[in-house]
Amino acid sequence: MKILVVDDETDVQTLFEQRFRREIRDRQMEFAFAFSGEQALSYLNEHAHEAVLILSDINMPGMSGLELLGHIKQKYHKPPPVVMMITAYGDEENYQSAMRLGADDFLTKPVEFNLLKEKLKTIA
């Protein structure tokens, strides 16, 4: 399973690579990283249909995670990939917008990695 993680904090890459160390080693999961909404879109353009799951932060400078979600769900993929939103602002408003735009799940920071692993396994 290929997962694209979108977050403006670059250390997220190291963190995910270590948290999913075993899964990556056993080739159950493969990760790609983008550090802005714009980067994520260009990655998706170049690697069409590769990523089956996208994990995106909402609060990023420039294109926000919600805008990215809108682009992905409306324009890019048929069938669209699963998109999970992650945010530090776990408020009702963000949650509603994410759901309206078609997010498949909504997580609040700090991310509970064991919970995330369980969710990813059910999708895979």
Binding site: E9, D11, T14, L15, Q18, R19, R21, N59, P61, G62, S64, A88, Y89, D91, E93, N94, K109, P110, V111, F113
Partner: protein, 671 residues
């Protein structure tokens, strides 16, 4: 009639002096009083009882007595309760209304015609001299308190002295004692400790000789503070304890909360964790009984801060966080209301100034008409005219003196507003800071957890004998520890930055990394706005000249300017985005550049721009285009002063309405 009232009071006195709580029967007696004068006398008693123990009740009875006196045309009694109303209003932070009352009382008591306009009793000590002059002293005292609470120390001292002078002339020792008591505090404020001690000791001696000891607690607190400043801690501690005892006895909650508060401060300064917490908590309990007081020195905000600092010293994380949050919350709301109240206060002083200017104008037109008559009239009139000119001139001089006075008051208010603006911007930052700290903390937690798992795996590999794999894991653990350290430092820098922002500033220039400063405030401003307004979003970019290195600036002040300009930029792009122009992408850019002996910092936004007709006003104090309540109108004028006067630099603006605004800070730079 008077006899009966006194009897009622005498009957009740022992009961509630012990119980600390007023029995309902006295309030019933007030409601069911047979006539106005009896009701006034009971109301007066109730006011005195609540004056320093509950602000809302005190305000209520001051208003009641005022109405009763007004209804019965007891002019001086009315004036007396206007002063008392003003006193409670100051405690509530409503300086403008208080000032209006006090100015009105001045008009009444400065008029000798009102000498005998009252038969009702005013002050709690019976007085048989001129009640009007005693009231004049009292009104000067009240005016001085307004000046104190709005940080106008010069005027404050002047008016206490006037009050004291009158009190001595008319031989009313209690009034003199109260003026001296407050002068002790004023002189402590300006750090003239010998004068402070002289006045405060006078107040102490006079109180000890008198049977009026209501304010002895406050006198002891001030003596404690003065002795602490004079490096005499044991004496200071003794006075604070005496302050507690006597304030309790006198049911003076104000004095009691002050005594506890300064005991708390005393032990905080000495690192005595248990006592610091105990007295701060006592102070908190007492101040809550007083109601929502906004006294500048001891209020709910300063008391919460004291409790928070005590918990911090004890390393009690849960309580620490709770009170830290309460401190920020209460202080934030107090500062907001303080800005509002000071602005209203400023408006009243401004009105007074305008009124005086109008008096001036009227006088000039009056003079002109007289000149015309002189031209037509005979020389005999000239003589009379000379006299009129002479008199006008004298009046003009008087008006000038008052104008100058009002102006100096205005200046003082302005400096106070500037301090409030600094605090308000800290409040705005709080949300951004919380978010900025949350991110690094998440990393610290995550990387330490994952390292723990890695160590288990490494041990397993070692047991299996796979040294290479174990080494690879050890390498990862080391990398994680570096990450933890990096994010810990990041959080540390944010907290340090926050502390720096709230500090008044040492006034010393320090070598500062301009790029780091810009980056820090850009992120704080962005996340602060983002946390306040969930829909807010904008692209921000930085273009830093890495060759700048460190240059000598006032870091807090310059940070404030950058924060202000960035906040304005984000505001402008948000406003333009509301216009929903197709294809509009909000963007804010911060650029630094080193150039021939100067460093340039440019903050550019593609927002609404500044209309040409207001462009020459934007650096003026109190000018703002934001809706009421959203801006103080001081941000840019303060920024301008910091850059030009504080750094000898320049602040320039380039703008096109509807397209962009670009502010450039130019700082002289010595390599």
């Amino acid at each position: 009639m008077k006899f009966r009232t006194n009897l009622i009071l005498l009957l009740f006195f022992p009961v509630f002096a012990d119980a600390q709580h007023l029995p309902d029967s006295l309030r019933n007696a007030y409601v069911n009083a047979p006539d106005d004068i009896t009701q006034y006398n009971i109301g007066k008693y109730l006011y005195d009882y609540y004056e320093e123990s509950n602000i809302d009740s005190a305000f209520y009875y001051a208003q009641q007595c005022l109405q009763l006196a007004r209804k019965n045309n007891e002019v001086l009694a009315e004036a007396y309760y206007m002063d008392n109303t003003a006193y409670q209003l100051i405690g509530l932070g409503k300086y403008a209304e208080a000032l209006q009352y006090v100015l009105d009382v001045f008009k009444i008591v400065e008029d000798p015609k009102n000498e005998r306009q009252s038969s009702w009793q005013l002050f709690s000590r019976p007085y048989h001299g001129s009640n009007r002059l005693l009231l004049l002293a009292y009104t000067h005292h009240m005016f001085a308190i307004i000046m104190r609470e709005t940080q106008n120390t010069e005027q404050e001292i002047l008016h206490y002295k006037e009050a004291r002078k009158i009190a001595i002339e008319i031989k009313y020792p209690v009034r003199q004692m109260l003026a001296s008591m407050n002068l002790g505090r004023s002189y402590t404020t300006v750090n003239k400790l010998d004068s402070a001690l002289l006045y405060e000791t006078e107040a102490e001696q006079m109180t000890l000789k008198s049977d009026y000891k209501k304010y002895l607690g406050q006198v002891y607190v001030q003596l404690g503070i003065i002795h602490a400043e004079k490096n005499n801690p044991s004496l200071s501690l003794e006075y604070f304890h005496k302050g507690v005892a006597i304030s309790k006895e006198q049911n003076n909650m104000s004095g009691l909360s002050n005594s506890y508060f300064f005991l708390g401060q005393y032990f905080l300064a000495r690192g005595d964790k248990d006592s610091a917490l105990f007295y701060s908590m006592q102070s908190l309990q007492t101040i809550k009984q007083l109601g929502v007081v906004r006294w500048y020195r001891v209020n709910l905000g300063t008391v919460y801060e004291s409790v928070y600092r005590a918990y911090k010293m004890r390393n009690q994380t849960d309580s620490l966080l709770k009170y830290q949050e309460l401190t920020l919350l209460v202080k934030d709301s107090l500062y907001r209301s303080r800005i509002k109240n000071l602005t209203a206060f400023q408006a009243v002083t401004l009105n007074e100034q305008l009124r005086l200017q109008n008096v001036e104008k009227d006088k000039i037109s009056y003079q002109n008409s007289i000149r015309t008559r002189v031209f037509l009239g005979s020389t005999g009139v000239l003589l009379l005219l000379a006299f009129i000119f002479y008199r006008n001139n004298r009046q003009k001089q008087k008006a000038n003196t008052r104008l100058e006075k009002t102006l100096s008051e205005l200046k003082a208010t302005q400096s106070q507003l500037i301090q409030s603006e600094k605090m308000a911007s800290l409040g705005e930052l709080t949300a951004g800071i919380a978010h900025e700290i949350q991110n690094p903390l998440n990393f610290v937690n995550n990387f330490s957890e994952v390292s723990n798992e890695l160590i288990d795996e490494m041990n397993a590999e070692l047991n299996k004998g796979d040294i290479n794999e174990a080494k690879a894991i050890a390498h990862d653990v080391k990398q994680n520890l570096e990450k933890i350290n990096h994010h810990g430092k990041r959080a540390d820098a944010i907290v340090k930055g926050m502390l720096q922002h709230s500090r008044a500033g040492s006034g010393q220039k320090e070598p500062t990394d301009i790029n780091a400063l810009c980056d820090e405030y850009l992120r704080l401003a962005y996340h602060g706005l983002r946390a306040k307004d969930k829909t807010f979003n904008a692209k921000f970019e930085t273009a830093f000249d890495e060759t700048i290195g460190k240059i000598n600036v006032l870091p807090q002040d310059l940070g404030r300017v950058i924060l202000n300009l960035i906040n304005n930029a984000f505001y402008a792009v948000t406003e333009r985005k509301k216009l929903q122009q197709p294809g509009y992408e909000p963007a804010v850019t911060v650029r630094t550049q080193k150039n021939n002996g100067v460093v340039l910092i440019t903050i550019r936004d593609n927002g609404t721009g500044i209309p040409e007709k207001v462009l020459d006003k934007i650096f003026q104090p109190f000018f703002t285009t934001k809706p009421t309540g959203l801006g103080t109108g001081l941000g840019l004028s303060l920024s301008y002063d910091i850059i030009t006067k504080g750094h000898g630099g320049q602040l320039q603006v380039e703008t096109e309405e509807g397209k962009f605004t670009s502010f450039t800070i130019t700082l002289p730079y010595k390599p």
